[in-house]
Each structure stands twice: as structure tokens, then as C-alpha cells.
Symmetry: none
Subunit: 135 residues, 4 copies
DNA sequence: GTGGTCTAGACCACA
DNA sequence: GTGGTCTAGACCACA
């Protein structure tokens, strides 16, 4: 696991986001053990406390479970939970803001949707390349 | 001018955004005088330093001009400037993130499109109501 | 504000409890400013981070609100919130456990209730003494 | 023997409590052999060290006796010992805290009394059901 | 001044 | 090994 940190957002929240997307992409499944606080701290070149904060966040959101002295685990159903939550804020908050922006900037939805198809096409190609490389 | 502040972003940037949108909506035109730092601070129940920062930010972006001893004014062409800038970050940054989210959450572009039309319809209705009330 | 810390529970949770009870007793009312993280840290002879954690907890519970650069404030209705939550856990969890204990130890409820009246009497006396001393 | 563990308290102490209550309820009598460390560890899906700690704790309290190469046994008079100890901490510590809570939350002792009778009634019913099932 | 985040590092109880 | 809490102290953006 490698990450490049961004200055705009706080590090531990970046870790949270990163892990959530990791789960969404199916890289970690329910009941799977995730790296220990210390290990991940070394891996990300970050202080253990910072990783700890990220794990606390994930636990509060019900995405991760901890067993003292054992480790942290992905909660069963974590991916659905994340997807549901994100869907809600996406529909309830991001989209309205987006639409507001679009109408203020006179951008037509058709333009955007064209962009989406280009995006997904590009993504699929990248995926194939990655898969090829792993071979 | 009334605003509700959000904890996630810094207050002065929220003011900047709010004013930009005000301009985009045509509420303030070029060369128009905007409230003095003190007045706006009182109105928004905010520290004058905070308003000052917002005005500085707007000045740096070329949206507001400062005339010593007179006040702050909307720069001519401000709306176009904002629109251009926002278009860029919209296309370069917001859309890619949006698309990523959509593909992670299995949201189809059609759903979004439908949402947009509902949004614009609702907005037009609200606008009419608002306009009526002002009469 | 002075506190003596107990080794059985973690310090920041002790601070949380202490403050909740402070609020329940009416010492802090809604919208009142509470000490800054640093000040309280000095007062309690504790690291600022520890106070910070306590304040975070209180914020998550909706008991405290923060304004960046300004300070922390008691949320309006905080006392009711605390009382409601505690009532719930009291009735739902503490009492059942208590009753279980009592029946396992063959303690009759009448014994306990006698104890309660002695307790409240003693408390009122203490209160009077304290009030007298302040005179 | 099945247990659901709680995060708030340490696992081995939860086992201690659970076993004490088992004894109080008369399920284990004096000189009765209790499960081996390994067996119980398997049964509770817990590290053997954890069970070992629990047994050590019970031994220190004089509730369990260890016979080398034979196993662990309930000490004669264990139930009385537990009952006596619990009575002390109940009266000396739990009750005062309870009363404090009650007065802070404006809960009247009568409410609690009513709750107790409901509790014992419900419990007796459950007991009958359980006894019936075992037949 | 005030909140907020982070590092470096220690120490503890537990598994 | 693993989580969890804490200290000492720094640094930043903001009010």
C-alpha cells in the first residue's frame, strides 16, 4: 500500500478515504485483517498515532472492527455500508452543488455525460494494461 | 446578505465562494460597490479580519478592486473571469472525481441526468416564487 | 475546575464524565463558552491533546460545539441531551445488571431504597454545609 | 458455555465475572471440576493465555483451586465468598454511584422499585421455560 | 488566542 | 505482536 498525500486535506482523512475506496474496489473483504497500526505507519511513513486516528474513524463509521491485542478487521458488509453512505451524500449534497455549478457556468449535462463515457473507456483500457503488466 | 457557515471549509473561503456565486447570478455587476469590510462583518456576525481575508482573496483573483479610502468594487468582467476559472477546475478536477465516485458506487449517468432536469425545473419554480415575493 | 484522576478509566473519558455532570448540575448552560483546550490542560495538569480528545468526544455526542479560532461552547439543550442518554443506558443496561446482581446476592430492594433516602439526606446536609462555608 | 464479549472490559475479567455468576447461580458447586484451560479457550474462541489469566484471577480470589496435573476445581464455599465480596463492593461503590446518577437524572426510587418487580417476574417466567426445555 | 493535526516516542494491558 | 493512551512539543491556519 502506497499513498501520496495531499496538502489540502488532513492526512488521517486521506487514509480513511483511501481505505474506503480500497474496500469499494473489492481489495479487502469482510472479516479480513488489515495491517496493524504500526505496520501501516511504517509503510505510509507516518506516525502510528495518525494511522490510529484513521482506524478510529473507520471504526466509528462501522467499517472496521478491532479486537484488542489481535488487530483490526474489515466489518462484514463494509463495502455496502460505504456505498450506501456515499450514495446518500452524493445524491443529497454533491449532485445539487454540482448542478448549481453547472447552471451558473452554463454547462449542459450532455457535455458532462460525454465526458463520462470517455472516462470509463479510458479506465477500462488502463485496467487492461495493468492486468497485462501483472502477467 | 445572510450566510450559514459550514465547518468543513474555512469561513473566509466560504465567503469568497458565496460572493462569487452572487456575482455569477448577476446580483452584483462590474464597478458596483460592495459592502465595507466592517459592515459585512457585522452582517455576517464574523470577525472583520475574516471578511478582510475574503476581500484580499477576491482581489488577488482579479474579481474585486480596492480603491483607497473609497471601498471595494466588483472588477469589470468579474463574472466572466469566475466562470472561466470555475469551468477549468470543474472539467479538470471535479468531473474526474465525480466520475470516479459514480463508477465506485455503481451510479449510472442516466440517473444523474434525470436528477439534473428535476433540479432545474424545481429551481425555476423557486425563482418564480422568489421573484413574485419581491414584487 | 479541579479533578482527581482515577486509574481505572482513561483520563479523557473521566474529563468527559466530569464535564457532563458539571452540565447536569447546571454549572454550565447552553451557549456558554468553556475553557480553551490549553487553559483546561494547564488547569488539570494534563497534556492539551488529552483535553482535545475529551472535547472531541463531547462534540461527537452533540454536547459541545466548536468554532475554529474562537473556542468551544456548550450546545443548547446539552443538559437534556445528557440526561436523556444517561436515562436510556441507566434503564436499559445499568438497572438490569443491578437487578441481576441483587437477585444473585439476595439483596432485597427495600434495603437499597432505605440507602437511597439516607444518601439524599446526607447530600442535602453537605450542600448546606458547602453553602454555609461560602458565606 | 457460550459468551458474548464486550469491548469495554477486558476479556479475561469478563470470563471471571461470567464464571462467578455461574457459581452464584449454583451451576458449579464446591470441588466440582471446571473445564481445562485449553478446552475452555476453544469453546470461547479465545487465546488460551486469556483463559489462563481468568483462572489465575479466580485462584487469587480463592474461588478456584489448582491441582497440578489434574485440573482446576471450584473451591468449597466459593459461592459464599463471591457473594460476600460482591455485597461489599455493591454497597460501598455501586450503590453510591447509582444514587448519584439517579439524583442527577431525576429518577425516583419508586420507578426503580417497579422495574425490579417487573424484572424478577420476567426472570421467573424465563426460568420456567428454560427448565421445561431441559426436561 | 484558539482549534487542529502531527511527530517522536514511551508505557501499559492484553492476546 | 497489537491496540490504546498519554506526554512533550511543534507548526499551521484562522479569528
Amino acid at each position: 500500500m502506497t499513498m501520496e498525500f495531499n496538502d489540502k486535506q488532513t492526512i488521517y482523512l486521506q487514509i480513511v478515504d483511501y481505505m474506503e475506496e480500497h474496500i469499494l474496489e473489492g481489495a479487502w473483504k469482510g472479516d479480513e485483517k488489515i495491517p496493524s497500526v504500526r505496520d501501516l505507519a511504517v509503510e505510509l511513513q507516518v506516525n502510528p498515532n495518525t494511522v490510529m486516528r484513521a482506524y478510529e474513524q473507520l471504526q466509528q463509521r462501522g467499517i472496521v472492527q478491532n479486537r484488542r491485542g489481535v488487530g483490526h478487521f474489515i466489518a462484514p458488509g463494509a463495502a455496502d455500508l460505504i456505498r450506501k453512505k456515499r450514495r446518500e451524500t452524493f445524491i443529497g449534497q454533491e449532485l445539487p452543488r454540482l448542478f448549481r455549478q453547472m447552471s451558473l457556468m452554463n454547462i449542459r449535462p450532455e457535455e458532462v455525460m460525454t465526458g463520462y463515457h470517455q472516462f470509463t473507456d479510458a479506465k477500462n483500457k488502463t485496467k487492461n494494461i495493468e492486468t497485462d503488466e501483472k502477467k
